[in-house]
C-alpha cells in the first residue's frame, strides 16, 4: 500500500514537472540559433540577451566559434543565422540554397600593441609597419622608425613579431589592409585568415587575441595585432598609424567612424540574386582623420525563412541597428554610419 502511494506521488510529480516543461517550451517557442565570428561575440551576446528580455517568447543563442565555422554552419543550414568578419566569398554564397543576405552590423579596428620599456607613444609610418610584418625591418632603432619618433629614444633591440596562430578574421582584416598599402606584402604574405607569415626566427605565433596580448606584454621588444575593443578592455599600449593622408592617427571610435564613412560599397547585387551587395571593405580609408585599419563585421541571414522566424529576424536586425548601436562605443566597437544603417534596413526587408 505504501509502495503504491509512493508510486502515485512520483507519478504526480512527474506529471507536474512535464506540465511545467511544456508550458515553458510554449512560452519560449521561438528560438534563433546563430554561430560564427568571435570578434563581435561580446556585443552580439549583449544585444541578443537584451532583445530576448524585451520580447517574450523569443530566445536568440549565439555560439562564438570563429568566422570560418560560422560560414560552414550557414552553408550546412544548421543555424538560423551566422556571423563573419571576412564576409563570404562568391563561391561560398553559391552553396547556400535558401539565399544569402549579408548585413554589416558593427565594425571594429585592428591595433598594433607593443612592448618597449619607457615608450608609451609610438608613431608607425605607412612604409614601416608592413615591412615589420614582412620581417624586413627587424630593429626598433631602425632609422625609418626613429625618424617618425623624434622625441623618443628607441632601444637597439630586436623586434619580435607576434601573430595569430589560429585562423582568424582579425588576421584577414589586418593583412587585407597591409596588402592594400604594400605590394611587396601582398606578394609575399597576402590576404588570408591564416596568412603565410615569413618563417623568420623573430616571428612567434600565439593563439587568439589574449594569447597575442599576453605574449606581447611579456616580451620586451614585441609587437602584435589585436582587436581595438580587446586592447581597450585590457588597456594595452597601441601605436599611432600613418593613414593615407599622412597623419598619425590613434585608434578610437571617432577615427574609426571616419574610416567607415569613406567605405566604398559595390553598386551591384550579390551574384545570382536581387540582394544588394553590402561587402564594403575599407582597406585604406582616405579621410584626413581616419584610422587606417577598420572593418565591418557581417551578419549572414537566409533570404527564405519561416514566416514567423523571418519576422523575428527582421525585428532583431531593426533592434541591432537602432538601440543596439548605442552600446557599441562603450564595448570598443564603432557604431555604423547613418548611410550604412539605411542600406542594412533596405536589405533586411528582403528576408521573407
Amino acid at each position: 500500500m505504501k509502495l503504491f502511494t509512493n508510486k502515485a506521488k512520483s507519478l504526480l510529480l512527474a506529471g507536474t514537472l512535464m506540465g511545467a516543461m511544456t508550458s515553458l517550451t510554449a512560452q519560449a517557442d521561438m528560438k534563433l540559433i546563430g554561430s560564427g565570428a568571435s570578434f563581435p561575440a561580446p556585443i552580439y551576446s549583449k544585444w541578443f540577451k537584451d532583445f530576448s528580455k524585451e520580447h517574450d517568447g523569443v530566445r536568440v543563442d549565439y555560439q562564438s566559434k570563429g568566422s570560418g565555422g560560422g560560414i560552414s554552419d550557414f552553408i550546412n543550414e544548421t543555424v538560423d543565422f551566422a556571423a563573419s568578419d571576412a564576409a563570404m566569398k562568391d563561391e561560398e554564397i553559391a552553396k547556400v540554397n535558401k539565399g544569402t543576405i549579408l548585413l554589416p552590423m558593427t565594425a571594429g579596428e585592428v591595433v598594433l600593441t607593443f612592448n618597449l620599456d619607457g615608450v608609451t607613444s609610438l608613431n608607425l609610418p605607412r612604409d614601416v609597419y608592413p615591412e615589420i610584418f614582412m620581417g624586413k625591418i627587424t630593429q626598433w632603432n631602425d632609422p625609418k622608425i626613429q625618424a617618425a619618433n623624434p622625441n623618443v629614444t628607441l632601444p637597439e633591440k630586436r623586434i619580435t613579431v607576434v601573430v595569430r596562430a589560429d585562423s582568424s578574421g582579425t588576421s584577414y582584416v589586418f593583412t587585407n589592409h597591409l596588402s592594400a598599402i604594400s605590394d611587396a606584402f601582398k606578394e609575399t604574405v597576402g590576404t588570408a585568415k591564416s596568412p603565410n607569415w615569413p618563417n623568420a626566427g623573430t616571428f612567434v605565433k600565439a593563439p587568439k587575441n589574449d594569447g597575442i596580448a599576453a605574449t606581447v606584454k611579456q616580451t620586451p621588444g614585441a609587437i602584435g595585432y589585436v582587436e581595438y575593443g580587446f586592447a581597450k578592455l585590457t588597456k594595452l599600449p597601441t601605436a599611432k598609424l600613418e593613414n593615407q593622408k599622412g597623419n598619425f592617427i590613434e585608434a578610437g571610435s571617432e577615427s574609426g567612424a571616419q574610416a567607415l564613412a569613406s567605405t566604398p560599397f559595390p553598386t551591384t547585387n550579390l551574384p545570382n540574386s536581387d540582394v544588394p551587395d553590402l561587402r564594403g571593405w575599407v582597406t585604406d580609408p582616405s579621410s584626413e582623420e581616419a584610422y587606417p585599419i577598420a572593418s565591418f563585421t557581417w551578419l549572414l541571414v537566409y533570404k527564405d525563412m519561416d514566416d514567423e522566424k523571418a519576422k523575428v529576424m527582421r525585428d532583431l536586425i531593426e533592434y541591432m541597428v537602432t538601440t543596439g548601436q548605442k552600446s557599441a562605443d562603450s564595448l570598443g566597437y564603432i557604431p555604423l554610419p547613418e548611410n550604412v544603417i539605411e542600406k542594412v534596413r533596405n536589405a533586411a526587408k528582403m528576408i521573407q
Binding site: G68, S167, S194, A206, T215, A222
Partner: protein, 325 residues
Amino acid sequence: MAYDPFKSDSSDMTLSAPPSASDYLQDSIFRFFALFCALSIILLVAYIIIELGSQAWPAVQQHGIGFITGTTWDVNQSEFGVLPEIWGTLYSSLLALLIGGILGVAIAIFLTQDFMPAKLSVSFRTIIELLAAIPSVVYGLWGIYVLIPLLRPGANWLHEHLGWFPFFGTELSGPGLAPAALVLAIMILPTVAAISADAFRRIPYKIKEAAFGMGATKWEVILKVMLPTASSGILAGLVLGFGRALGETMALAMLIGNMNNISISLFAPANTLASLLASTFPEASQIEIEALMYAALVLLLITFLVNIGGLMIQQMTMRKFEGKS
C-alpha cells in the same frame, strides 16, 4: 559465541568446501566482464585508428610521403608538410624526458630510500602528485608570466657569450623550445616520480639488507642494487611520461611559439603536432581538416612506436637485471 566445529552451518566460512554453483557463476561472470573490458579497449583503439585513417585518407593519397618531409603549412596554397612539427614534437619531448626523467627518478629515490621521515615523505609525495592535477592551461599561463621572464636573462646571456654553440644559436625573445620543454618536464614529473617510487617500494627489503650486509655504502646500494632492480618500473614511468609529453597540447600551444622552424637552438620558436592541431582545427576548412587528420595519424604513429620501443627496452632490462624473460 564460541566456535563449535560440530554445529557449523553453511554460512561458516572457516571450513574449506568445494565451490558452490553460485561461486562458479560469479567467477564466470567476472571473467566475462573482465574480458569484455579488455576487448573493448582494443576495439576502441582500432575504431579510433580506422576513423582517423578514413578521414585522413584523401590527404594521405594526395600528399603521400611528401607530407612528412615537407616543411611548409600554407592553407592558402593547400601545401601541407609536418616535418618541423615532427621535429618539434620529438625534440621538446626528449628534452622534457631528459629533465623530467632525471628529476623524477631523483625524487623517487629521495622519497623511498629513508632520506626523510616516513610521514613527511607521504605529504611530500602527495604534493608532487598534485602537480598532475594542475590543468595544462594553467601551466601555459605560468610559463608565459613566470617561467619565460625568469629564463630570458640567462638564455640571452648564454646566446651572447656562447652563441657559436648551436644549442644557444638564437636569442630567446619569448615563447620557444626551452620554456615549452621545461613546462613539459614539470608536467611529466609526477608520473615518472610516482611510478618510479612504486618500483622502488616493490623491491623486497631483504635485497637491500643483503647488500648492506656485504658492506656496501648507502649510495652503492642505491645506485648499484636498487636502481637496476627497479629499472623496468622506472622505464615504464619514463615511457608513460614521454607519451604524455608527445601529446600535450594546450600548454605547448601557448609556449612554443607555433612557428614551422627546424632549429637545433633551444631558444628558437618551434611547433608540435599536437599544438598545430589545437590551434588550427577550430577554423579549418575541409581540405585542411583532412591534412590535420593526417597529422593526427602521424602523431598517433609516433606515440605507438615510442610505446613499442619502450616495451622492448623494458623487456631487455628485465632479462638483464631481474633474470626474467
